[in-house]
Symmetry: C2
Subunit: 299 residues, 2 copies
Amino acid sequence: MNKKTLKREINDKVSIVNEALDRYLPGIDETPGQLHEAMRYSVFAGGKRLRPILFLAAAEAVHGRADELLPTACALELLHTYSLVHDDLPAMDNDDFRRGKLTNHKVYGEAIAVLTGDALLTLAFDLIASNVLQGNISPRIGVEVIREIAAAGGSKGMIGGQVVDIQSENKLVDKEVLNYIHEHKTGALFRASVRCGALMGGCSPQQLDCLTQYAENLGLAFQITDDILDVEGDSVKLGKTVGSDARKKKSTFPALYSMERSKKLARESVSKAVGALAQFAEEADILRYIAGYLLERES
Amino acid sequence: MNKKTLKREINDKVSIVNEALDRYLPGIDETPGQLHEAMRYSVFAGGKRLRPILFLAAAEAVHGRADELLPTACALELLHTYSLVHDDLPAMDNDDFRRGKLTNHKVYGEAIAVLTGDALLTLAFDLIASNVLQGNISPRIGVEVIREIAAAGGSKGMIGGQVVDIQSENKLVDKEVLNYIHEHKTGALFRASVRCGALMGGCSPQQLDCLTQYAENLGLAFQITDDILDVEGDSVKLGKTVGSDARKKKSTFPALYSMERSKKLARESVSKAVGALAQFAEEADILRYIAGYLLERES
């Protein structure tokens, strides 16, 4: 497929995910209205929907039916959003803005922000279970997916990464710690998104291996390009001020490896990610496109 | 069964649950050690293990095998503990002590306390899924249980109750709002504990109806006696100062109904709970005992 077609396909998927999120999130007319408003505020405050797209694209790469998996796709976005709402809290990163908008606690206060995160996290598991109960997914696969996503989001996954990230502030950490933070804080959920899409799409064990390799390299490339953008990016396009990592004395790839080597490392990771898809034909073109896009992204 | 035997059976169950919690919680030697220490701190800071016991007793009431359901029993305790850790935060109830011990954020700081709650909540779903993958529970029932627990813990369940509770502070609310808070903040998880125990134990739809009625009346009785203890209880046995509801101007049953009527209401609820178990023989004796115990409890 050519680039233009792929871009349109991805945009279509983003629209479908956004419409589904609107359907699945409780309405502000349902008690407690303020909490539901706050949940919607953060979910619809922007975001590229990268995790749901990866999930759906992985399902399609193994000829699964993406249209039957929307609740689980949305669950991954809710998990990501919950982590941002809690990370922004005064006790954590203390950020006033996210994607150019006030953070949840700046609008609704800290108590509601904590509960917004809790509710998004809980709703994520509700949605996956509801998806399975619709009847198109084998319950056994459904339970495996819930197990995988809980592990990826838990104390030895995403939350673990955030803890070590906080503990490493104002310290120059070594490569091992930097890798731990990235593999856990962002890598684990990327990996789970791709793997669970493949599992729910009906993959073979061998396909799962290849897609796992793709996801791990993609996650690494994402984190490196994220660090690069924080130095070289355009604050308007990013929706946040650049240079915030340096100000917070966060360990980053450019700080640890030099900018030039970081860019090389990003290209190599993308190349490995794409290489892992060798056995797939055009059904994996969206996954290839996303990997390439990381090297060009501006936000 | 006589009271002494029942009391011993419950104590045995508490020990089994505590040992299982110790096995399922990550060790403090696993990265990030501080987070795992904080999770263990709050889980082992006391607690009657009422929700796991109700879950296991409901499973046994329908002749299910409690020993095969320990991970899910523990998941319910983790959900309860996560809600306490977050409720105690400065932005919420701002409590320094819980069950006579410093609250999580007083020991580990606010950032870790938020993440401790997140990690306990996530681990709860991990444990239920892992329990199902052990092979003794039908995956379909497992997914139904996950759906039920996520709904009970979510924005229209436990979290919703906490939101309305916060919004009602320093206000004299009416009976409708008081009922909403209690049914959601504590009632929903009690109800889910009993129902999920019954479901995983292999109940009939008719048994599920009776046990649901039991659970709803039990939850109400628990909340009323909780409010009564806050006025008349012994602060040493409670592990917290009495009169805190009045100081925080929280709406309570004694404040809204008078102490005498509150006690009558508690007795009536217990009586209805026990009445809902009429079709069960001695296999439901633990459930009966727990209902009666609420009227005598001192903490």
